[in-house]
Amino acid sequence: MRNPFVMDCGEFHVNYKQDMAIWKISRVRMRVFILLAIFAVFPMFVSDYIIGLATLCGIAAIGAIGLNILTGFTGQISIGVGAFLGVGGYTSAILTAKVGLSFWIAMPTAGIVTAIVGGLFGLPSLRLKGLYLAIATLAAQVIILFVISRWDALTGGTAGMVLSRPELGSFVFYSERSYYYLMFVVLIITAIFTLNLFRSRVGRAFIAVRDRDVAAEVMGIDLFKYKVLAFIVSSFFVGIAGALLGHYTMVVSPELYSITVSIEYLAIILVGGLGSVFGSIYGAVFITLLPVVLRSGVEMLSGVFPDLSAVLIGMKEVVFGLVIILFLIYEPQGLAKIWKNIKDYFKLWPFSY
């Protein structure tokens, strides 16, 4: 029984279950719940435009968590994410529009199909490392896009396909707000699954493969199996993100899944933090909102300098590249690390020594 007159001097874990929790301290757990609550109610108070941006951030975050499982946690570079998003989007489009399945079956199926395709392109990873693997995944990007844009009968070729919003009974997820909640649930499941994964056996094996593959092998980890497994899990979530994105924008076409998208996703996990679930989310928000913020900044200034927008129109890419370079130089571990540094600073504040 806790003595009400005695002040706690810390929180102590008395069994392993407490010590192995994701959020070990009740104050931190509280903070997570409060944050979740804020994100759950904020669409009630903002415009559709902002909710739409939040939805795009969230979908990018799901894909980025997927890519981070592969690149950040398992150390296998992939620049085929764009195409894998496409596989997810097209699978869901074909299943709902042509086969007539419901979205609730099509979305998981899109994940599974993408996982299979990803696993297939992950097969060379046993022999190829680093840049060589990156080139192999680039091949995946090119091949998949080629198939998508040429297989007219199935995919509608370069014209693309039109999708519908998901339905649940008589309810259609047509409003921005409803689709935001759909994304929100999927994002939470993805994040919790990934957090759990990396505190249990298979996730640890992934990290071991990244850090020292020779040692991992000698400790009993089948390199081939785990590398391909990483491709499979990663592509599953990327496929889910692709399906969600397709049904959100209600259109899929080859140019939406170009190599630029792949690079953008790599930028997300670099800026957010390699090997960090929350980093993927921060990075997704950052990279998705960066062009929006830049554009509105330019618009604000154009009242004072009317010619500015003409000059700065090409600056978006420059700023984008600059941000990535600055992150690589000053904080290679990304936003997740910056956030951790801030927390660590305030842990001891104001007496840092």
């Binding site: 249990s200 056996r201 640890r204 990290i207 020292r212 092998e217 000698v218 400790m219 089948d222 899990v233």
Partner: protein, 256 residues
């Protein structure tokens, strides 16, 4: 019959013969040392046992089973664990996670069970955490259990690496120069741990070490390699009096 039998193992890299028709047996429950001058093929021998190299000819039997063609991870699941000469820990993971990885082959949780972390998966994690805590207790590294391994001192990293191999509950423990680069106090500690491991867990230990004092004190049997050839095998006394071994280490008497 020994727990590990090396039969006529030869290992070639192009024209270089790293191991030349080496045969010996390791008895169950003994401390077995491999010694020899630098470049004699000691680490190559361990690599053949743990599966990183495949011998060009000859065979390796573990408990009577031919494991010559088995991959390293298969051998680990049979109970062959290893600590490396140059530390091969997972630097970004904590000591705890490194040791939990040592238990990889003893655990079962798959991808989905791990991701959902329900009931069974959680119980298994906790059960194996207890085993890992025993190893931590044994090696007296309680205070660093949550520290990332990359930030630890060299001596501690060596100890953690031994711990990771121990966490596997191995039948054979391969230690590649566990005392290299240590001061005499750390060496003494490590020697005591090796003796304790041997006595408390009855683990068979294969040891590579350059410190002859340690080797002679600890070993039940010693094999001596020189330029890939086995030039001596026997108890420490026999090795000390073996003229071929003395020659390999000290050079011929009339050469000076």
């Amino acid at each position: 019959m020994g727990i590990l039998e090396i039969k006529d193992a030869t290992l070639r890299f192009g024209g270089v013969v790293a191991l030349d028709h080496v045969s010996y047996e390791v008895q169950e429950g003994e401390i077995f040392s491999l010694i020899g001058p630098n470049g004699a093929g000691k680490t190559s021998m361990l690599n053949c046992i743990s599966g990183l190299y495949k011998p060009s000819s000859g065979s390796i039997h573990f408990k009577g089973e031919d494991i010559t063609r088995y991959k390293p991870h298969k051998r680990a699941s049979l109970g062959i664990a290893r600590a490396f000469q140059n530390i091969e820990l997972f630097p970004h993971l904590s000591v705890l996670d490194n040791l939990m990885l040592g238990r990889h082959v003893r655990m079962k949780t798959g991808l989905l069970a791990g991701g959902f972390y329900w009931g069974k998966a959680q119980r298994e994690e906790i059960e194996h955490r207890k085993k890992v805590e025993q190893v931590i207790d044994f090696l007296e590294i309680e205070d660093i259990r949550n520290t990332p391994v990359g930030t630890l001192s060299y001596g501690l990293q060596k100890r953690v690496e031994t711990g990771r191999a121990l966490a596997l509950e191995p039948e054979i423990l391969l230690l590649d120069e566990p005392m290299a680069g240590m001061n005499s106090e750390e060496k003494e500690d490590m020697a005591r741990y090796i003796i304790d491991i041997h006595e408390e867990m009855q683990t068979t230990i294969i040891l590579i070490e350059h410190d002859m004092g340690v080797v002679m004190d600890l070993s039940d049997h010693i094999a001596v390699l020189d330029f890939g050839k086995l030039i001596g095998y026997g108890t420490p006394e026999e090795i000390q009096n073996n003229p071929k071994v003395i020659e390999a280490y000290l050079g011929e008497e009339n050469a000076v």
